[in-house]
Amino acid sequence: MAVTEERPLELEASEAPEVVEEPMGVFTRPRGGRGWRSWVTTVDHKKIGVMYGAVALFFLVVGGVEGLLIRVQLATPSSSPDELLMSAETYNQMFTMHAVTMIFLVVMPLAAAFANYLLPLQIGARDVAFPRLNALSFWLFLFGGLFLNSSWLLGGGPDGGWFMYAPNSSVVFSPSHGVDFFALGLIIAGVASLISAINLAITVINMRAPGMTLMKMPMFTWMVLVTQLLLIFALPVITVALFLLMFDRLFGANFFNPSAGGDALLWEHLFWIFGHPEVYIIVLPAFGIVSEVVPTFSRKPIFGYPFMVFSGIAIGFMGWGVWAHHMFASGIGPVSVAAFSFATMFIAVPTGVKILNWLATMYGGRLRFTTPMLFAIGLVAMFTIGGLSGVTHSIAPADTQQTDTYYIVGHFHYVLFGGGVMGLFAGLYFWWPKVFGYKLSEAWGKWNFWVMLIGFNLTFGPMHILGLQGMSRRIATYSEGYGFNFWNMVATIGSFILAVGVLLFFINIWVSALRQRRHPVDVGPDPWDARSLEWMIPSPPPEHNFDEIPTVTELDEFWYRKYGHDEQGRLVRIAKTEDVVQKGDRAGVHLPSPSYWPIVLAFGLPWIAYGLIFNLWFAVFGAACVIAGAFGWAMEPPDDPEAHRHPAGPEADAPEGKSADVEGEGAPVG
């Protein structure tokens, strides 16, 4: 078939005749535009970042309400099952979905929101390396998340806990479809994360502005890079585990069925080889955010930048060797236990470096307690608590008393919420003016912070006591005689204070947006007098980001365009901010064009998943979407050749003017 064409196989080198690359597909190419359509088809990293953020905040409420329901259930003891708010079945689904939602649909995507929005800005790029893949990641994540949550309506959510130990997750012990939703939903979300991780890693590695060497990258960029590398290596492992689980459940294999020769511990190993790096995947972006916020409001450079970078890398690296600390009680043998116990302890060292270096950054500074700074300090204080309780778990014998009690629940909420979520809130307040062009109200922000801090400690602090007093986790209720009543009530009250804290954030958005609409204030490109490149361009940034890609000579380039040192090493201003920032008015920059295909392709996957669960016809439909999406994608040039024939401005690009950063996601590869 191949060789049957005119003049076959002549030896002389010849170019194939160039034909016009005409897009082939049912749809004509979408063109920018406004309204919802511009969001659905966008490939702009900023819009995608905003969508990630919005969806993550939505799921925060979902996961949060699930958490609150858990707390209501546990507020008081019960003596019989029918006194309860939720039956044991519902309760099990509740904490499973709570954890899955919070981890996979809140914290990870919120970090992805920041990474998407900020990486290109911080490294001086026009967009991420593969804008359409970026859109695909987002839609996959969204549809994966909706798919997971649709399980509530289709026979009940997954009920095995977020680590879904086998064989309790097998069909025999979990006959509803919940676990199928878990496996398939996480595979979809995992594909999304993997694509986005590759994309962002390449963006950082390849697309830095001239002069920005690795050791001149902002801390946030660094931590996101480490996170993406962790994801790239961790996700395939959980994918394997989930596939095996799916084969067990849907096709009758016995990978995790001990009575047929399967091994229940295999799942534990596979899950935690992923699961432990995952917790650093959650916290490292937050660390990155804090490393941006603290120097800005201390008006000092980050203390020991190289140490901060290398400790981040060390955390990521060591995170691979400690997974079995989740299995101290599972009978892996004293030698393994000892080895993993030591490995785990020593993670405290690089993490400690980070904490102490933040303190040293603040030391001697002129601290401004803006809301982002408060949240950042909150992270330093709260994460330390979680970290230290983590070290007490790493002492294996002690952990055999602590594991699967509320002491652990206390630990991980301190690191997940006190570390991850606090850091992300710092980021929300910090970059809000950059993204939306107005600041969130400081007054509401401070209320937000303090109520949240108090609520947080009241909720999760008592859990340490409860755990040491012997309260197990994942129990739908407890009886009167155990003496858990008091602290559970405290924790429940705390959780509602915490919820009010979170609510204040949403109120703040509302209030501040309203105020901005009534009395618009121009915050300018650099409202905080900050340090990195994203503050050099207008707020909100123009679609093309930079008028001119800056050439970087310093870590904190933007700062050093504004400030220098005098002889005593004190800060002196050398240029006015207005003179340093860009206007954002350059026209005719060639940008990646929007596309329908990512959403079409992403839309197919959940249907394939439904198909596997319910009826293969759904899968046929899903596969058709995927194939159509992939094919249309491959046939559509990444740049719309028509785009610059539209009224673009004086500086219409020359035909060769495709920007390198968006060229050719090689058609057959994509």
């Binding site: 099990n92 095995g160 309790n168 000092k300 002492i395 014998p397």
Partner: protein
């Protein structure tokens, strides 16, 4: 922001309130944290193993506490000391630009490393110390099932269990017990906080755990690996008794079950063989030989052959225990005059009788009427005890029979 407001309030008065409030809080904390009335607490070890753990964990808590105080006070100090004053002028009162201090950073890398190295040494010692089996340790098999525990004693070492009991593990005090923990369905975890840490019961594997109670008493436990709907209700007890009493208990258990005599008991016996014996064993009943359908396990089922737990507690000496159904309910009732000891004192059957205690008919009867209403179970999936739809006569006949099984 509220500096003005603060000043307007007399300082000493504020301090008094503060002191009062703090004092109250501390008191509250102490009472709310004490160990008494908390049978599951990890902070009150009652055996050598748990003491070893406590001896290791205690100092670690202290180290962690010291670091905690240092860091948090560091935060507070820095935050109050280096705040930007309102009088500071931007561009003039700016901080010195310190980029780092290599030596300092090395120091605070090394110090935690050294601390942890110290901890690591003791950790390793303890890990291996917890594995040391004593010569005279008594082996007991522990089998986790959805949602109760089975215990098997093999005294003559012939590989066949001599005693099969459930939910309440009776051990001689002062002697080490060498548990071999298995599971019959999903992963469970055996945990008696006062005696040792947890050990998972993983299907397909056997794990060992050593426990020893210094003093006679009842030590409560809880399954701690999530195992399905009734995970929270899957509790167990260890009853440590003096050696002599243990011997008596053993003889009683080895004895054949009490024969039914009265007509009610006999009727119950028949119903039992017809309805219950396909899952429950009372030693000596051979359902197959008697022609009853035996869809349940054979007397000594081949554990692990079938994932589904269609096994049920051995009831031969049911009334010698003091709780039933995963230690959720008392087997003996408080007759109202207050003499009957409460469960946690967990007396033997004889003591119960001498104290004038009667079987807890309320809970037992409703258990027979509708077990899943008392404890979440999934009998359709063959997990847990089904509602057998017994008539009231059948229930009372069964109770009559069951309550003689001492």
């Amino acid at each position: 922001m509220t500096r003005q407001g603060e000043m307007s309030y007399p300082r000493h008065k504020r301090n008094r309130w503060l002191a009062l409030g703090l004092g109250g809080l501390v008191l509250l904390l102490i009472t709310a944290c004490s160990n008494s009335g908390r049978p599951l607490t990890t902070l009150d070890p009652q055996g050598p193993e748990s003491t070893k753990i406590q001896d290791l964990a205690g100092p670690v808590f202290i180290v962690a506490g010291v670091i905690f105080i240092c860091v948090e006070f560091g935060v507070l100090f820095i935050v109050s000391r280096f705040r930007r004053r309102n009088t500071d002028v931007d561009g003039v009162d700016e901080p010195e630009q310190v980029h780092g201090n290599f030596r300092l950073e090395i120091v605070w890398t090394l110090i935690p490393t050294l601390i942890l190295c110290g901890i690591a040494v003791f950790t390793a010692q303890t890990i291996f110390a917890l594995e040391e089996v004593q010569e005279d340790a008594l082996p007991v098999e522990v089998i986790g099932q959805q949602w109760w525990w089975e215990f098997r004693y093999d005294f003559d070492d012939d590989g066949e269990p001599d005693i099969i009991s459930a939910n309440q593990l009776v051990i001689p005090a002062g002697r080490q017990i060498d548990l071999s923990i298995r599971s019959n369905d999903v992963i469970h975890s055996f945990w008696i906080p006062a005696l040792n840490g947890k050990k998972d019961a993983v299907p397909g594997r056997t794990h060992s755990l050593l426990i020893q109670a210094n003093e006679p008493g009842v030590y409560e436990g809880q399954c701690t690996e999530f195992c399905g709907i009734s995970h929270g209700y899957m509790q167990m007890q260890v009853r440590a008794v003096p050696a002599a009493e243990f011997e008596a208990w053993k003889q009683n258990q080895l004895a054949p079950p009490v024969e039914p005599t009265s007509s009610a008991e006999l009727a119950g016996y028949e119903i039992f063989k017809a309805q219950c014996a396909r899952c429950h064993q009372v030693n000596g009943i051979d359902t197959e030989a008697e022609g009853y359908s035996n869809t349940g396990p054979t007397p000594d089922p081949d554990y692990g052959a079938d994932q589904v737990a269609n096994n049920a507690p051995n009831l031969t000496h049911l009334m010698s225990r003091s709780t039933f159904a995963g230690s959720m309910f008392d087997l003996y009732a408080d007759t109202g005059d207050g003499v009957c000891p409460v469960v946690s004192d967990s007396p033997t059957a004889e003591e119960q009788h001498s104290a004038g205690c009667t079987p807890n008919l309320v809970d037992l009867e409703s258990w027979l009427r509708d077990p899943p209403a008392m404890k979440p179970m999934a009998p359709d999936g063959n997990r847990g005890m089904p509602n057998l739809g017994l008539s009231e006569e059948q229930v009372s006949a069964l109770i009559a029979y069951l309550t003689i099984l001492e």
